[in-house]
Amino acid sequence: AQSVTQPDIHITVSEGASLELRCNYSYGATPYLFWYVQSPGQGLQLLLKYFSGDTLVQGIKGFEAEFKRSQSSFNLRKPSVHWSDAAEYFCAVINAGKSTFGDGTTLTVKP
């Protein structure tokens, strides 16, 4: 069965610093991978997705993610974090339309 692991429950970074959120997946075939962001009490906003092709994908709000098959990873990165990036981030894998989410990583941004 497919699964997603986000090893970091909580990450704190200073505003302007770089960010990397980790995501590891377990899936037999080529996975379809997603990153979502969720502000408190709000819905899920899609940041970016990977289906195939270029392993470095660009998303909204300056985020990017790199698919590494050898490491079963799909880590999310941002070169310079803004205070408004503080939120919960979820990695997800899709199989036949059904999404499996990781536990999420809470990002805190220090001034």
Binding site: F34, L46, K49, S99
Partner: protein, 113 residues
């Protein structure tokens, strides 16, 4: 841009009452889903629906839950007799046949008191 719409955004109900959460999927989509997120936890799959029947459901989706597509546009989740532990955010999603990406609604926050 087409989007999945959920109503209401927040519903408060008394324990034991029935609730119906409503979703309007993207108009040409054929596959529909409900997910649940208990506060502070991850998003969990509840049920998938295609061709007017349930195609898959999770352990969470027990007999107190049901789904329906009563007309050509709405997709509903009914909880027959709510419990305190049903308090959560419920997300509806839809996808187009042959396209694996699912589009999520903004969610309905259900509070059972």
């Amino acid at each position: 841009e087409p989007e999945v719409t959920q109503t209401p955004s927040h519903q408060v109900t008394q324990m034991g009452q029935e609730v119906i959460l409503r979703c309007v999927p993207i108009s040409n989509h054929l596959y529909f889903y409900w997910y649940r997120q208990i506060l502070g936890q991850k998003v969990e799959f509840l049920v998938s629906f295609y061709n007017n029947e349930i195609s898959e459901k999770s352990e969470i989706f027990d007999d107190q839950f049901s789904v329906e597509r009563p007309d050509g546009s709405n997709f509903t989740l009914k909880i027959r007799s709510t419990k305190l532990e049903d308090s959560a955010m419920y997300f509806c999603a839809s996808r187009l046949y042959g396209n694996t990406e699912a589009f999520f609604g903004q969610g309905t926050r259900l509070t059972v008191v």
